[in-house]
């Protein structure tokens, strides 16, 4: 298999510190995400948490929690302002990611075909289906753990869920933001329909992110309490070997592994990252608790 790495381009870093990358030490870590990708994910967290918190106060306005939270956020007008600002940020993240893809195609893959149909593609492939079936067998004890590549099928699912979410929530959100403009060509009840879709799709997104996504990528017992790869960009080599054996083997075979190794982030950076990640996780979990409470005990 070709051993092209898809997303990270640590050449600049490697050029700056050639001596270090030339002599990999055991503690050197595998670079999985670029700085832009980490930044985009951080922005996504800020934006998503803001959207979820402010939006859910409106959705669950019948709970006492919502009123308190809304007051804490500075009132519904301020909450609305936060919600719209965060939405703009989210659109920004989305556009930046698309730009990044275009950039990547130019620099790394030369053609869309290579980017979209290569071994490190984000698009679902037949291998994903095979790995999904194999994973199911592993779950029920009928086979070994599959040899995952760079992107597992659940990571691809998460990735496209964001595309779907931004399309659905974003379009209905814009309708609700500019109802007078949209009712120039849509009937008035379309606003009501947009409300239902926006609200329920948002519930799906928050619920999924704060449970399934958190578990899959951060809270799996073997990674508990937190996987900081998305924040630091680094993954310990042992973990790469264990979790992405196919990618590891491909890199070793092509002899390009060393290009992707870097010294660990300084301790203070990791600590700071952990601190903020904890805050984000806590907010997410609180929201899940609130959703469950609102849906089960206070639903109207």
């Amino acid at each position: 298999m070709p051993t092209d790495l898809e997303l990270q381009t640590p050449e600049t870093e490697a050029e700056r510190r050639p001596t270090r990358s030339q002599r990999p030490l055991p503690e050197h870590e595998f670079v999985r995400f670029t700085r832009l990708q980490r930044t985009l994910h951080a922005c996504m967290i800020v934006s998503f948490l803001s959207l979820a918190t402010t939006g859910l106060t409106l959705k669950f306005s019948y709970t006492g929690w919502a009123a308190t939270l809304s007051r804490l956020l500075g009132g519904f007008q301020t909450a609305g302002f936060i919600h719209r600002s965060a939405a703009v940020l989210m659109f920004g993240v989305f556009v930046a990611h698309l730009y990044n893809l275009v950039h990547l195609k130019k620099r790394e893959y030369k053609s869309w075909r290579a980017l979209l149909l290569g071994p490190d593609t984000m698009l679902p492939t037949s291998q994903d289906l095979r790995q999904f079936i194999a994973t199911m067998r592993w779950f029920i004890g009928m086979g070994p753990r599959p040899q995952y590549g760079r992107w597992t099928y659940w990571e691809k699912f998460d990735y496209f869920a964001v595309f779907w979410g931004i399309a659905v929530i974003g379009s209905t959100g814009l309708t609700l933001w500019f109802p007078i403009f949209f009712t120039r060509f849509l009937p008035g009840w379309a606003i009501n329909v947009a409300t239902v879709i926006h609200s329920d799709e948002a519930l799906l997104a928050t619920g999924f992110i704060f449970t399934v996504h958190f578990f899959n990528t951060h809270l799996r017992p073997e990674k508990f309490p937190m996987d900081t790869t998305i924040f630091t960009g680094h993954m310990p080599l042992t973990e790469l070997k264990r979790d992405k054996p196919l990618e590891y083997e491909t890199l070793v075979a092509s002899g390009k592994l060393e290009e992707h190794l870097e010294e660990p982030q300084p301790e203070i950076v990791v600590r700071t990252i952990r601190f903020f990640a904890w805050i984000a996780l806590s907010i997410g979990f609180s929201i899940v608790v609130w959703i469950i409470y609102a849906m089960l005990f206070a639903y109207k």
Binding site: F139, P179, I180, N192, V193, T211
Partner: protein, 677 residues
């Protein structure tokens, strides 16, 4: 009195008339040029003869027979219509006004000095002239029952103007009310009108026929100084009856220090009742100024003379309230067997009180029942306009609170829904207006509950009964009442067995708040929702409802769209939500709203597949998506969990082995071996 008086007044007039008749007969005989009565009647006996006066058609017909039988029958027309003298017929119109005074000099003089005459001089078009009382061509002697000024007719003649509701009574400054009605029921009126005693006093007996002056005028027949003389024209030797008060001739000599007839016998209201025989206040105060004076049951019987002197009743004698005294006793008060009955004077109020809850309790001998004195006090009674009075508007809440405050005697027996009444009132917009802003026109207890006719709201006669409440609040909030009475909530508009809301259902009774306070704004949905439960619930499913549920008021609430008091069916073209008005209603907040925008469903719910199929199916589509995704994601996670825990255990073991330096290789290779499978 009357014939004598009337005769004395009219006798000179009649004599003069006769003289003039004689004189004018001579004149007409001498003057051959002037038209005779027959000449005039040649035209004026035509019944169809009319003219236009200030836009009205006026008949100029003169009944020759009636004229010739009138007191002026012997006179030629020109005797009165002097400006026709020497004119050719037919004459030009109009003729100059007839000057009765050219013959009736004294009467004319009196009339010009009287209220009526001065009013005419001022140009008051309501003031009566001779003709208004006496007529014109058909004047007959006063004693003739056909006369317009015959005694039996006088009350109605005067009453034409001095009757309730006439322009004179409503537009001129007249401080007596129900004059004709009161007179008819008075002893004089009954004697005249029911018993036909033509000698009974009528209007002119006291007021004089022509010299009518205000009672403040020292020359008036009804001035304090003169009233005794006026009354004694008929009631001769009344002093004998008023022995104690009057002490003989004092009444006429010192009228300014003694009570005048009208102090006890109110003008126009003189009743055929027993007025306590002349008890002077001084006689009472001989004993009652003693501070230690006590009744047999220990009550203090002390009366502070200054209290009475400074009160509204300063000019009322003790015995007028404390009736049943007997002046012939050494202790005149020993014959008193009943407490003071204020309704003897304050009759209407007394009747209101008896119908009220307070009065009903008193009738049931309830010891808690408040009587007049509980609110008004006894000897130091002050008017409600006196800031020192307990019944002055700012003092009313405290006054009523004496019994109706929580824990007090009226509050403890009350079983209704209103509690902390006084406290709540004080914090309400009315209470703040009255007590903090000092606006004495602000509604206080008595404005809504009335002062004397207080009834529980369940009583259909009560001013706070739901049926009557709009009118009660409308006494001040008239503009609102007008709107409300045309709305769907008005009993006048909607005929239904269901209970319709009134003011208090939204605004409450005693906790009325400013409607621009967030508390009121946020409560209104629940208030409307008490009856419109379903529609309120669906409101909370929409953006407007959710935002207001969060405690914010800058979003559409029920009344922002439906109107507050002028709520109409949406099918009514005048409704704020009718097809013609709905876009403008949305534009109150959404400046550029269009008709399509107004198609937003403000009460939409996704639970109703018939009414809102789009929403219903969208909701269930989304729910299916949600449930499906979560089921898959959840299953995946749950199935993963045991494997992940197993991996964790293995990793721990591996780590432990590595730190021990041995066994680690085995484990790792074992795991790798599994992976390789």
């Amino acid at each position: 009195m009357s014939t004598r008086t009337v005769r004395s007044i009219f006798a000179p007039g009649i004599a003069l008339t006769l003289l003039i008749i004689a004189g004018s007969a001579l004149t007409s005989a001498q003057s051959a040029q002037g038209p005779t009565s027959d000449d005039c009647l040649a035209c004026h006996s035509d019944k169809s003869l009319t003219t236009q006066r200030s836009g009205r058609t006026v008949s100029l017909f003169i009944d020759g027979k009636r004229f010739s039988s009138s007191v002026h029958g012997a006179l030629n027309c020109t005797a009165c219509h002097a400006d026709l003298e020497g004119k050719d017929l037919p004459h030009s119109t109009p003729l100059a006004r007839v000057q009765c005074g050219s013959c009736h000099t004294d009467e004319q003089k009196q009339h010009s000095h009287s209220l009526h005459g001065k009013a005419i001089a001022r140009g008051d078009n309501l003031a009566p002239r001779c003709v208004d009382c006496h007529g014109n061509h058909d004047i007959v002697p006063v004693r003739d029952p056909r006369s317009a000024v015959a005694p039996l007719k006088v009350p109605f003649l005067c009453g034409r103007c001095h009757r309730e509701g006439t322009p004179v009574q409503t537009q001129r400054n007249i401080d007596q009310h129900n004059i004709l009605e009161n007179y008819s029921e008075s002893i004089h009126g009954e004697a005249l009108l029911k018993k036909g005693l033509v000698v009974a006093a009528n209007c002119v007996s006291c007021h004089t026929p022509h010299n009518i002056l205000p009672h403040t005028d020292p020359n008036s027949s009804i001035n304090r100084r003169n009233i005794a003389a006026t009354c004694t024209k008929c009631h001769a030797e009344i002093e004998e009856v008023h022995r104690k008060t009057i002490r003989g001739e004092l009444w006429e000599k010192e009228a300014h220090v003694l009570p005048a007839c009208v102090d006890c016998h109110q003008p126009h209201k003189v009743r055929n009742v027993f007025y306590t025989q002349g008890m002077a206040d001084a006689d009472c105060l001989r004993c009652h100024t003693n501070e230690h004076l006590r009744a047999s049951d220990g009550r203090s019987m002390f009366v502070r003379a200054a209290d009475v002197a400074g009160s509204r009743h300063a000019k009322v004698a003790c015995s007028q309230c404390h009736s049943e005294v007997n002046a012939s006793r050494v202790r005149p008060c020993e014959t008193i067997s009943h407490p003071v009955d204020c309704s003897r004077c304050h009759e209407e109020i007394g009747q209101q009180y008896q119908r009220s809850k307070h009065g009903q309790l008193l009738a049931a001998n309830d010891p808690n029942a408040p009587t007049c004195k509980e609110c008004h006090g006894t000897h130091h009674v002050l008017g409600k306009h006196d800031p020192l009075s307990a019944t002055f508007s700012t003092n009313v809440p405290t006054l009523c609170g004496g019994c109706h405050r929580e824990g007090k005697k009226a509050a403890v027996r009350y079983t209704g829904t209103q509690h902390e009444i006084i406290q709540h009132y004080t914090e309400s917009i009315h209470g703040k207006g009255l007590l903090k802003s000092g606006l004495t026109v602000t509604a206080t207890c008595t404005n809504c509950h009335t002062a004397h006719g207080v009834l529980p709201s369940s009583d259909p006669q009560s001013t706070v009964n739901p049926k009557n409440l709009p009118a009660t609040c409308g006494a001040c909030h008239h503009g609102i009442e007008e709107q409300f009475e045309q709305s769907v909530h008005s009993r006048l508009v909607t005929k239904t067995d269901k209970e319709l809301p009134v003011c208090s259902d939204c605004h409450s009774a005693h906790t009325i708040r400013r409607t621009d306070e967030s508390g009121f704004m946020l409560d209104i949905m629940d208030k409307c929702g008490r009856c419109h439960a379903e529609i309120a619930k669906t409101y909370f499913d929409t953006y407007h409802g959710k935002v207001s549920k969060l405690g914010y008021t800058k979003t559409a609430k029920c009344y922002d769209c439906h109107g507050a008091h002028d709520i109409l069916r949406v099918t009514d073209p005048r409704s704020h939500l009718s097809r013609a008005n709905v876009v403008a209603t949305c534009q109150k907040c959404h400046a550029n709203a269009t008709r399509r925008f107004a198609g937003y469903l403000t009460h939409a719910t996704h639970h109703d597949p018939k009414k809102y199929p789009f929403l219903y199916w969208t909701f269930w589509g989304m729910t299916t998506l949600l449930v499906g995704t979560f089921a898959m994601g959840g299953m995946h996670t749950l199935l993963w969990l045991p494997r992940a825990l197993q991996m964790r255990r293995e990793l721990k073991a591996e780590e432990a082995a590595r730190s021990n330096g041995t066994g680690g290789e085995e484990k790792t290779s074992g795991e790798e071996g599994r992976h390789a499978d």
